[in-house]
């Protein structure tokens, strides 16, 4: 899915990164704990989370995430959105639970990362 399609599918409000809405996302991960994301995210991925602090943007930077959706109607403070904007990261807020968001995206064709650790080759993407 493109990020624009994800925004539509979730009925989300984009907070920053509008210039990158055309990028493609091929997998998603739901977590409120960053190390879980660091363990299970592959390339071209998005993160759905209820955490809205600067660490989310930093984690996104480490993983080269394409976009982050803040669920349950959460909106990060302006300085965090500023950091994301500077990094070219698309962020959005969704007025739905994490479960509902995941269901909608799955229906839309998005899948999770496999529950195994990437081999060296896969990690190289």
């Amino acid at each position: 899915m493109t990020i624009a399609e994800i925004v539509k599918c979730l009925d989300a409000r984009v907070l920053c990164g509008e210039e990158n809405l055309g990028q493609r996302v091929t997998s998603a991960c739901c977590s409120d704990l960053m190390s879980d994301a660091l363990a299970f995210i592959h390339e071209n991925a998005m993160l759905l989370t209820g955490i809205t602090n600067a660490h989310v943007v930093r984690t996104a930077g480490i993983l080269d995430l394409k976009c982050v959706a803040f669920v349950r109607g959460k909106v990060p403070p302006p300085d965090v959105i500023g950091m994301a904007r500077e990094a070219g990261l698309v962020t959005m807020t969704v007025n739905k639970t994490m479960f509902t968001c995941a269901g909608l995206l799955y229906e839309g064709g998005l899948r999770g990362a496999p529950m195994c650790w990437p081999s060296r080759d896969e990690a190289a993407g």
Binding site: L33, D36, L63
Partner: protein
């Protein structure tokens, strides 16, 4: 050949991730491939966060030669009482504050081990914890 040393203060949540970002940037400049870059960046972030959250402060050393990327961390305590237990996925002593910020999944040390080509941890109570992880340059 690259060598860098980064000082990391205990509880320095405000600058968390800065060291890892710098390491990632340096390796990118050296032309390290994307997959290796990602494995090193994930591991250094976990290393950095553990020093901030669990230790009294420490350093991370980055060394790169033609064959290996090496990350070495050394902190000033308090040490890990049971390293085997700490290595288990899901084991965490992170407090409420750390969890609210998104840490404490108990996945940091396992993440480092799985991402690296070699992993070594040594911890002594009061003295501190030392971790060496290496990545083969391809």
């Amino acid at each position: 050949m690259v060598r860098a040393e980064y000082e990391i203060a205990s509880g320095a949540y405000d600058c968390a991730g800065e060291v890892s970002s710098d390491i990632k940037r340096q390796l990118k400049q050296l032309g390290i491939d994307a997959g290796t870059l990602r494995r090193v960046a994930v591991s250094s972030y976990e290393m950095e966060m553990n020093i901030i959250i669990h230790s009294l402060g420490g350093v991370i050393n980055l060394t790169v030669d033609n064959e290996w990327i090496t990350l070495f961390s050394k902190d000033r305590g308090p040490g890990i009482p049971d390293v085997e237990l700490a290595m288990r996925e899901g084991f965490s002593t992170a407090g409420e504050d750390a969890r609210n910020m998104g840490f404490g999944a108990g996945m940091g040390l396992p993440n480092m081990k799985r991402n690296a080509d070699t992993f070594n941890i040594f911890s002594q109570m009061e003295e501190g914890t030392r971790i060496t992880i290496t990545f083969r340059v391809i």
